[in-house]
Symmetry: D3
Subunit: 225 residues, 6 copies
């Protein structure tokens, strides 16, 4: 069977899925697993509330089950990692969330993580997750740019705000590595890294890279999940 | 308007709802808020997996919205606190989860919490939540009795297993307060406390008590959720 | 016997006791427990040092013993929770401290707690207690208004300073719920919440609410204290 | 003026004071500060409850004030560090508690601390203090020998129990350094270290050593206490 | 230029290097980076003490500098991550340590990590590192098999001991994912995973997988190291 | 044999060794141990990178072995505590690092530690160490003055920068005790303490004081290192 990583954008914005698809392109290689990016039709245009996060889990798990025969691994491509642990129950294939993978990757690139989020409402949700991961002593701060998912399409304004927030994370909060806290920010990574002078992690390719490794090494999921 | 606490059992087992209803009876008082216990018809018979936890959120939030005009406060009566933060977005009324309230109550009754869970699969999920709450240094251990929600109806076997697990939590792990990790264990509290000789917290009435206080004091929820 | 919550103001300022009495009024109900607020005659006018905290314990425990037959539960109404664990030895009735209860209540209303204290000298003492509780990852900051207990009688100045400090806790430190760090601030809660736009917890009624629940549910204290 | 470290045994047992006096003898040197061990007449025979801890603070602070002119530094010689922070307010001289100093010393001698306590009731109190110090990740376990302060006079039984508990701390809990959790255990240190094969810290001389250093280096206490 | 991951075994045992080479084979692919495993001639036969860890850093950094032109990324293949942060200063290429990568990978496969170490002396060193990483709340226990690096060549005895220790990590300490705490254990992974029934992470391929991703995504190291 | 504390300055700057020698002078006493300060000839002029830290360990351990017969205790006098745990393997005599001892001393003098570092590059290294020690909840912030070790010879500029940074640590980050994060800052302690009004710890004498106590009390090192 062809090896295939199924990346699911749990919001329904095809533009975001296209940006994800472009961002993961460097991880495609001849003979390597296919990397297929799907849009969750039932998702909201952007996942901006806890309710959005929780309510996409049912259709997301159904999509995982439908794709299970075709997939070697799954990636959930929203920085709230919606349904990640439910997906890990729905399939025996390795499954990754972009927040988990993006943050763990950042731990290898810097000492103190700064997170750039879209809306202020996301921040308590992120902190709950950072604490659940047990890595809160490595996260310096999480600051919002005040734009929703749809507004990220305005790339100039997004860049200006991300640069300003990134600068505050570094100068005022001591961050020395930045994680972009939304899959929809993918296009901003290279420019932002050049501006800020510290590593900037786009979480989606970080998770796809983890999936590639997991496939190659035959990782299996834990019994107790 | 009549003040009313709506307690939602997010599994579909009316027997569990009845046990909850009995357990919260001491909190009813003449002139005090009504305490009304509802069963989430769309829920599974027992919430035993992360997917169960996540998939009840959509119908749970709809029920909250339907009841919002009638309610002064809400309680989600499952120890995984499914959808608690989504419910807090769906209503401006104070909302409580029984795990959050049960664990915080236990912090006032003892030094080191022991949790008695139903199935082993729940334990990683509980630890994620305990860490998200930021109280992991106060939880000594979480051990399962190996029975599903439906099997809790066998009260004798349940009592025997809860007593044995409670004893291990105290003797081997240093717990000095026990939290029952399932709304369906409500009937066991008094007997277990007598057997073990340490406080035993039934989390559902703990949350309803918190809701009563919140109504009396006019607590409002945070802006950023 | 009449159920009765004895709230002890461990400083000797009757004005503070009166403010506490007014603040807990919403928790009185026909048929419910009496809530009786006592002033510790032997206390200092305000508890502003660690020595104040420790030295009130002896008379406080004596008062608890004198009142034990009349009481169903006790509340120690000073944000340093003086003698809380000694009181828990002196009586078998449930006993609550307003710092413990206020902070745990705030955990259900927000993600990151900001504490408004009276004097700078209180802050290291508060942090020792927050760490002892094991919830330091949920406390964003603790800032003083620079007024002693007696000076809180100047309500206008107190309001101005609390509003300014609360604003800094929110804007600079990321707090999304405020705990007032002195029983003597009781009158400021409603106005402050309106100004700041986030929940503001007055810790004394939070503890009395916990005591009400404890009485109704028959909580007993832990064996090992 | 003669330099002088005043070591205060806050219990009223002269036998404990004598054991302390012998334990600190190696820290006396010609030309060095006098080390004078006092018994707090107002203290209980042994400090075994939180109430004991809190109620000695008033006479302890008075004794500190009486001795202040004669003292270059103070040591409070009870493993609950009763009144340590109040003493730090009562004098401008450096002041040390034996629990604080004993635990911090152990951090330099091993990776994971095991504490041997007298009674089970002490353990929640110790953990509150360990968390307040912020070093809980370095304490593996705290286990009791089940003897009160007076019973420590039976040296044979005390040795047997301390050896057995020390062995469990090492073998079952991974401790590689032991702290004796009571000033009254002073005579057991050398034998216990020989039996267990890991460093054993007697906390009282550890604190006196810290006081010697503080005097020599002219340490002053912090402004904000 | 050919992309190339240089994996450095910092001990001088060619047998260990060969085992590493075999373990990373699944990560080689046509058109993908070469993965070249080098033995540090100046290293000791096995890295078993802190001094071994520290003393290989000088020759390790020289080797990194010699290989820098040929390398796209580096992996230091010893579970003590000797010199990892010095290597990150010696090269601008991404550099990974197998302990860091193995532990972070395990965080995605389970809730509570159990580490199987070679000798007891390694364990305090590992805990210092786990705390430095900030993930100690996710590590359940670290237990030794009591064999040095050379003795791992006895595969039967190694398997027996690793299985027994793995079982204790799971049953007594609650681990649900195992990390093998030595590069020299590579050959044991598959058998151990089959015996234990939980995921077992060989840290070396985990780090090489991270290096592959880093090369593909162009990660750069942080400015401040 | 004469008792003797060997203090090793692991950089090769004799001027720094002389400053250390002066700073520890108050700890010399007639009849007390000699305190001899050595310069590590093989060290770099200043230890400013992780590689410097790691590469001095081999010559440092050799020097310790050469001096072992003459020494009663060792102190490693660089704030990165280079090779501290390797030294503890190389000798059975007690060994102290100035960062470990300076930070633990500060815990007895204040609530929240502020560290003044030389260069920004040191800060992630310090945080790794603070987390490894397990005391990160007590460290408020670590800020650099932007001068290398050699530049500390300009005492006026050093004083100005240390005062400004110390002020920020206190006012913006809540520190109430300062630790000077370089042995080469020794001459600044008294002036800085006078300017800032909070205790300022010079870490080298703090470690020598700990060594004095260890010699007097016959501390031995742990078995497992």
């Amino acid at each position: 069977m062809t090896e295939r990583i199924i990346v699911i954008n749990p919001n329904s914005s095809a533009a975001v899925t296209r940006a994800i698809d472009a961002a993961v392109a460097p991880l495609r290689s001849p003979g390597g697993p296919e990397i297929e990016c799907l849009t969750l039709a039932e998702g909201p245009p952007g996942i901006e509330t806890q309710r959005h996060v929780d309510e996409v889990v049912a259709p997301l798990c159904r999509l995982v089950e439908q794709q299970d025969n075709r997939a070697s691994a799954f990636v959930v491509a929203c920085f709230s990692d919606p349904g990640l642990h439910a997906v890990r129950e729905a399939t025996s294939k390795p499954a990754f969330g972009i927040a988990e993978s993006g943050l763990l990757t950042a731990l290898t690139l810097g000492s103190a993580i700064g997170i750039i989020s879209i809306l202020a409402a996301a921040i308590p949700r992120h902190w709950r997750y950072v604490r659940a991961l047990g890595i809160e002593s490595r996260v310096a701060a999480d600051l919002p740019i005040g734009l929703g998912v749809a507004q990220l399409a305005d790339e100039g304004e997004t860049r200006r705000r991300m640069t300003a927030v990134g600068r505050r994370l570094i100068d005022d909060h001591g961050a020395d590595v930045i994680v972009m806290g939304c899959a929809g920010m993918a296009r901003q990574r290279a420019g932002l890294e050049a501006s800020l002078g510290v590593p900037v992690v786009d979480p989606t390719p970080a998770a796809v890279g983890a999936a590639l490794t997991a496939i190659r090494l035959g990782y299996r999921q834990g019994r107790q999940r």
